[in-house]
């Protein structure tokens, strides 16, 4: 073993690493990489073999993983999927705004605001309790049945409204948790400078709270993107409905698999982004501790 005295004195900012130890740790990294590769290849090879060697596999491959079917269904599916994307983009826009208002409404402490607080609380309790699928059915079939003049009967509109109502309740709770996680001393500091309660919320509490809730908020949006498929219950041709039509026309389920992959493809960037944000937060907190 060499001694640290041999460390180059002219570059003190670079931590000195013993050359023997460095080559050892490099060897270990190489060995770890090799083990990881071998284990991955072996596990997936065994899994692949087990699945493809089942007696029903050729039939499954034919009906679920048929490349010709996939290519044939692709144009219809991708066109239908545009509707899913539209639904969740519109829904996310309204959810972001409405849920923030609900969260702020629940946080009001002034006695005169009690009715607002009650309404917001009842709203959240109700829509968190009712399954989204029920809200979609009730609104999608219920509102047109009322035969109101000047009100649209479009299933896409009411399906989207149902998703907004349902998810606003969840996201409002996410916002509220974020707002409550800001230490009261931040509010005290702002108020002591003469900022009003509204200014304190606007400039001090919300900017910090929103930053903290971005990962859980994105999680809810990932769930929402998948649940746009539920709107198919009302009849519009979105990707699940399109896959259903294709499946029943050709007695082949490949279209379902393609639809599933489309959902994965669209949620994957958000999932990775959420993971990355969460890791970054953890790192920052660790850095704060040290």
């Amino acid at each position: 073993m060499t001694t640290p005295a041999e460390a180059p004195l002219e570059a003190p900012s670079i931590p000195y690493v013993d050359p023997v130890r460095r080559s050892r740790s490099r060897a270990r990294a190489r060995r770890d990489g090799l083990i990881a590769s071998i284990s991955t290849v072996v596990v997936f090879a065994v899994l692949g073999y087990l699945i493809t060697s089942t007696p029903g596999w050729p039939k499954v491959q034919e009906t679920f993983f048929n490349l010709d079917e996939a290519i044939a269904a692709w144009p219809t599916l991708i066109k239908a999927f545009v509707l899913n994307i539209k639904i969740f983009l519109v829904a996310e826009f309204f959810i972001l705004i409405l849920s923030l208002l609900i969260a702020l409404g629940r946080g009001l402490r002034a006695p005169v605001a009690l009715p607002v607080r009650i309404m917001c609380t009842v709203y959240v309790d109700f829509f968190r309790g009712v399954p989204t699928i029920l809200v979609i059915l009730l609104l999608g079939f219920g509102v047109p049945a009322l035969q109101l003049k000047g009100v649209t009967n479009s299933p896409v509109v009411w399906g989207t409204v149902a998703l907004i109502l349902s998810y606003t309740a969840y996201v409002a709770e996410v916002y509220r948790a974020g707002i409550e996680s800001i230490h009261p001393s931040q509010r005290a500091a702002a108020r002591s400078l003469g900022l009003s309660s509204i200014q304190t919320t606007r400039y001090v509490v919300l900017p910090q709270a929103v930053r903290r809730v971005i990962p859980p908020l994105l999680n809810d949006f990932i769930a929402l993107q998948k649940e746009t498929a539920l709107v198919s219950l009302l009849g519009p041709i979105e990707v699940l409905r399109a896959a259903q039509i294709s499946a029943s026309a050709n007695f082949n389920y490949t279209a379902y698999v393609v639809a599933a992959l489309l959902f994965v493809a669209i949620t994957l960037p958000l999932t990775r982004l959420t993971d990355w944000l969460q890791r970054r937060d953890t790192r920052r907190r660790m850095a704060g501790v040290m």
Binding site: S185, A189, R191, L193, L195
Partner: protein, 244 residues
């Protein structure tokens, strides 16, 4: 001339009575230091003075405003009073400059460039000019606390309250914060500060108040209070502090 007047203030939290008939008069340009054991009501008194806590009974006046009156504009009252906390409480999502200019811009309606010029000048006076664009977490505790003081000063308060502002600091950083307070005293700022730094109290205070059981038990110029305390409780407190 009495500028800040606290009379007969009671304040409790649930069953715990913290202030029990607190009286305190502070003159313009006077430096009053509050000492006393933890729980004697120092922090609570300071928080009541700028309306962060509502009093249960009694009266607090700052100049011609009665802070404790019903329907008084507390935001207006708070503009006259700067407070600095033990834990700095800087806004972590804003740069130092934004921390300092937020209240002048949003409360006093100062324009951004005007507020920033004033803020940079104030930061410069306390040796923080090169920190203006940093975020608080890049600063040492002493620097953060000095920024917190500058942030309060940016509102041009008539009285400054310091709530154990050096208690959360590394001993090596205490001095730089005390220097700032010393300088404020020289400029004639009216100051009320709670502290455990007895040496500093002796040096800067015009008057030292010993708080016990939610009241001022004894008050006198520092030489007198530290030299020949009248009450047995004061004596034993000072003896205990001296031993640390």
């Amino acid at each position: 001339m009495t500028f800040l007047q606290v009379s007969g203030v009671h304040k409790g939290f649930g069953d715990l009575a913290v202030l029990r008939g607190m009286d305190l008069d502070v003159d313009l340009h006077e430096v009053v230091v509050l000492i006393g054991a933890s729980g004697s009501g120092k922090s609570t008194l300071l928080r009541c003075i700028n309306g962060l806590e509502a009093v249960d009974a009694g009266e607090i006046r700052i100049g011609d405003i009665e802070v404790t009156a019903a329907g008084v504009d507390l935001d207006e009252a708070r503009r006259r009073v700067g407070i600095v906390f033990q834990q700095f409480n800087l806004f972590p999502h804003m740069t130092v400059l934004d921390n300092v200019t937020l209240a002048p811009r949003k409360v006093l309606g100062a324009g951004r460039s005007h507020a920033e010029t004033a803020a940079r000048e104030l930061l410069g006076r306390f040796g923080l000019e090169d920190k203006a664009d940093d975020y608080p977490d890049r600063l040492s505790g002493g620097q953060q606390q000095r920024v917190a003081i500058v942030r309060a000063l940016a509102m041009k308060p008539q009285v400054m309250l310091f709530d154990e502002v050096t208690s959360a600091l590394d001993p090596l950083l205490v001095g730089e914060v005390l220097d700032v307070i010393r300088e404020l005293k020289q400029e004639g700022m009216t100051i009320v500060m709670a502290t455990h730094e007895m040496g500093f109290a002796q040096e800067v205070a015009d008057r030292v108040c010993f708080l016990d059981g939610g009241k001022v038990l004894e008050q006198a110029p520092p030489a007198e209070l530290f030299g020949s305390p009248k009450h047995e409780t004061t004596r034993s407190f000072l003896a205990r502090v001296a031993r640390i």
